[in-house]
């Protein structure tokens, strides 16, 4: 199945997946079943907007505004990142 998000999809982190402030390493990590993924600033910016309420389109718009970048390019990057997480079931959509 295609895991690409549509504009109206509202992504969320399912139970058992969460962001964690790693004070020892000074970074934010995504904690998932038997896995810890260290996030870069972009990853943090994306996932901190993933809340199960905002749509994919809204998240892109917000990021484009905040970082003053073309929405189209942002959409590509975010899509790729979120599809990767979805394939591991670290991300789901309403």
């Amino acid at each position: 199945m295609s895991l690409a998000l549509s504009p109206d999809d509202r992504p969320y982190l399912p139970r058992g997946v969460r962001l964690h402030d790693d004070r020892v390493r000074g970074s934010t990590v995504l904690l998932a079943p038997e896995k810890a993924v260290e996030l870069d600033q972009i990853g943090v910016a994306i996932l901190s907007r993933v809340n199960g309420e905002d749509t994919f389109a809204q998240i892109i718009q917000d990021l484009a505004q905040t970082y003053n970048a073309p929405a189209q390019q942002i959409e590509q990057d975010v899509q790729r990142f979120l599809v990767g997480l979805r394939a591991r079931l670290y991300l789901m959509v309403h």
């Binding site: 199945m1 964690h20 020892v24 904690l31 079943p33 896995k35 979805r86 079931l89």
Partner: protein
């Protein structure tokens, strides 16, 4: 060499277990109940682990549910800020205990599967009725929505059962299926001939997993751990000795890996008398095979040394008689012929030697 903090800790709460799997990696000499750390000491170890940078805690065994205080230990782990995973056969996990574990903050359950039907599973687990009890528990886990991984140890006698294993993972609502080919440590070394998968089985399993992970993309994630005997090069041992994870045995000894106690000349410090942090950074056992400086030839001049760190120390000991040797799985190892000979010894009719419980 600067040593990074550990990411994961495996807490072997007990060696007790109602099952007696012939591939158990627990040591031949198991810790008795009286030797186990008490609740308070474990809770303190969890806090020390979190403080030094551990993110993931695996509560394991034996069967961790054999500990009456599992709920309390889970609460302590959660309070310390650790992502808490329970590795269990689910025997002994009643609905009431599941409720309590959920309330205590358990994040995830990894459920082991001994087989896909009662006949096969109970033969491997050596426990009649075990399969039915596991299935009941699995339903209770699914009903509560606790994130679930199914772990199937594949070996010569069940690799052909992989299709059904995959279907079961989907039916049970697991998000992830780990297909791990049996590793020969601890008790399992008694059963190499009976459990070693054939090359054909291994190849077929690889293909099946590749096909299923495509078909079930977004439904079920796969982790496949093939045996390295049929590969040219060994696997890296958990990213290198003393680099990512540590194990605490039931009696409080701290090990770089679950099989490290098989290496006779190493001495392991105990959390009863040494701080976890100093064991990780300063102990002789953790520094014995850290990094690459200790590596012998042919590894020392090999361009894969930062990839596999010379392979598995326990395997080197078991197969070459020297924990400091190149892993004999490697085609460049002077002991590689021993692996070739071992592979020739597999037999379908070999008897299983069941784990004898402490």
């Amino acid at each position: 060499m600067s040593v990074p903090p550990p990411i994961a800790m495996l807490a072997e709460l007990t060696h007790r277990c109602p099952l007696s799997c012939p591939y158990c990696s627990n040591p031949l000499e198991m810790a008795a109940k009286e030797a186990e750390l008490d609740t308070e000491t474990w809770a303190d170890v969890f806090r020390q682990a979190a403080e030094m940078g551990v993110l993931q805690l695996h509560l394991s065994g034996g069967e961790p549910a054999s500990r009456r205080d599992l709920e309390e230990l889970t609460r302590a782990a959660h309070a310390a800020g650790l992502y808490t995973n329970l590795i269990t056969s689910a025997i002994g996990l009643t609905p009431r205990r599941l409720d309590a574990l959920e309330a205590a903050g358990l994040d995830h359950i990894q459920l082991s599967l001994q087989g896909t039907n009662a006949q096969l599973a109970d033969k491997i687990g050596g426990y009649r009725g075990g399969f039915d009890r596991k299935m009941q528990a699995a339903e209770e886990i699914a009903k509560r929505g606790i994130p679930l991984t199914l772990n199937a140890v594949m070996h010569r006698q069940n690799l052909d059962d992989l299709d059904r294993t995959i279907d079961m993972a989907v039916e049970l609502g697991a998000r992830r299926l780990e297909v791990a080919c049996v590793q020969f440590h601890g008790w399992a070394t008694k059963n190499i001939a009976a459990l070693l998968p054939t090359r054909e089985q291994t190849e077929a399993a690889k293909d099946k997993v590749a096909e299923a992970s495509k078909r079930l993309r977004g439904v079920l994630a796969f982790d496949f751990v093939p045996p390295d005997y049929y590969a040219d090069y060994p696997k890296s041992c958990m990213g290198g000795w003393g680099s990512a994870g540590l194990n605490v045995a039931p009696d409080g000894s701290v090990l770089p890996c679950h099989a490290a106690q098989t290496i006779p000349h190493l001495q392991f410090d105990n959390v009863r008398d040494t701080a976890l942090k100093s064991i990780w950074y300063d102990s002789a056992a953790f520094n014995a095979y850290r990094g690459t400086d200790w590596l012998p030839e042919p590894c020392q001049s090999c361009d894969r040394k930062e990839v596999d760190f010379g392979g598995c120390r326990c395997q080197a000991l078991a197969l070459a008689g020297d924990a400091g040797a190149t892993d004999p799985v490697c085609v460049k190892s002077p002991d590689h012929h021993r692996v070739v000979a071992m592979l020739a010894e597999g037999e379908d009719e070999a008897d299983l030697t069941y784990r004898v419980n402490a």
